[in-house]
Amino acid sequence: MLRALTYSIQEAWESLGRSRLSGLVSVMTITVALLILGAFLVVTSNLQQLLAAWQSAAEISVYVADTISPEQRAALDDLLAGSRAVASHEFVSKSQALARFRAQFADLAPVAATFPHNPFPASFDVRLRQEARQAQTVDSLAASLRKMAGVSDVRYDRVWLERLLLTLAALQAMGWVLAGIVVVGAALTVSNVVRLTCYARRHELEIMRLVGAPMAYVRGPFVMEGALQGGAGALVALLVLWSGFAFIRGRYGEMALMALGIPELRFLPVQLCIGLVVGGMAVGCAGGLVASLGTEAGEGLVSAAPVAEAQATH
């Protein structure tokens, strides 16, 4: 077994050394596939932060009559706290509302000064759970809030809500489509690389089959070469991804945080990085295994002509 392993490593290494260009192309192809996947993951994870930031904006405003009693207010508080659709809620008093108006509309500061008394009503700012963010749920919540005593008005920006819903759905759809394309692309990539490996090793394989070499020797070098290529591809992909990420963060990072309201631009977590490398090696191994199986069965993977040739002269 140890001898088979030594053999596999030697052969894989030799084969990489012999067909340098070919090996390079394979590694680069895997790199590109993983690069697209990795970029997708980085963008997705940062978008999720962005979405989280958006979601923290108030979504329903429950205006309260100036005449509300402390009991009524407590009842409202309980209702909101008990609702499964509500993520959090916050009371905004009349004076807080006025202060907010002054801060947001500095242009109108002179106007505010002319107010004879504070015209702004107190309100509850309600944030919804992501799961509950469906038009009907929100509508029914609003309806039940309106029925409460002491509530003067319930307002929520349906357009904004729908925009949020839509954006989420669109992003998800695009994500699925992109992921699908990437998966198909990766599969094709691996299959192309595997076919090239098959071609390159077909003579060795035929001889091994004909002299009764153990499976470990037949498949070992394939699997090793696949693992080496996959691992190398993943490492290069991570390196490129990290460089790109560091560049973008260095150039636009500060601004991005400020402008988009994301706490920080995040790279992939370490576990995912390790996962990518291990995944690359696994895909390489699997490709190698398929290649060795395919060549053994002697059909399909390699097109008609070379198979015929493998059995050439009788």
Binding site: R3, R18, H203, E204, I207, L210, V211, G212, A213, T313
Partner: protein
Amino acid sequence: MIDADRLSKVYARGVYAIRDLSLKIDKGEFVFLTGPSGAGKTTFLRLLLREELQTEGRLMVHGRELASMSSGEVQTYRRSLGFVFQDFKLIPGKRVFENVSFVPRVLGVTVEQQRRRAFQVLKWVGLQHRMSAYPHELSGGEQQRIAIARALVNEPSLVLADEPTGNLDPDLSLEIMNLFREINARGTTVVVATHDRELIRRVGRRAIALAHGSLTEAV
């Protein structure tokens, strides 16, 4: 050792390559297989290698029916064979020495054993000086001798050689046959397919003549 009983092999399109062939080859024998082009010599050897399965009849080697072997048994069986292919089947990307030592290597022999055996057989076929050349740098006859060396490197108990002297001049052919005779003298069974009647005459061993897949005469 080898026992074929009413053996037939039909390829696609209904081509009968072997038809109703019955023959016995004893352990330790040296046998020629002869016959015109397309007589079925290669097909018979391929059946013995278990590269093909017969359509009808029975083929026993070492008292075992080849058709009923599991794939693991086929592996073990093939390790006891040495086969010289009509088209050599050398590995283009490996040097001569690697080509020859490849077989013991993938069968898990130790490194020194590999080298020792490979040197020895290369010397037998007179090509130790071309050891580090690639197959495409060799003449047809040199390639053929490498193929012979590879078949012998693993000290097989049965050697099957398909037209091993087609690219060799008469003197060299006889030398190779003497090599086979030597191996045969040490107990290895040898089956050689050849067209070369002159060679058969000079070596003077039993010849099985095929035509259209059947025996014609047993000299």
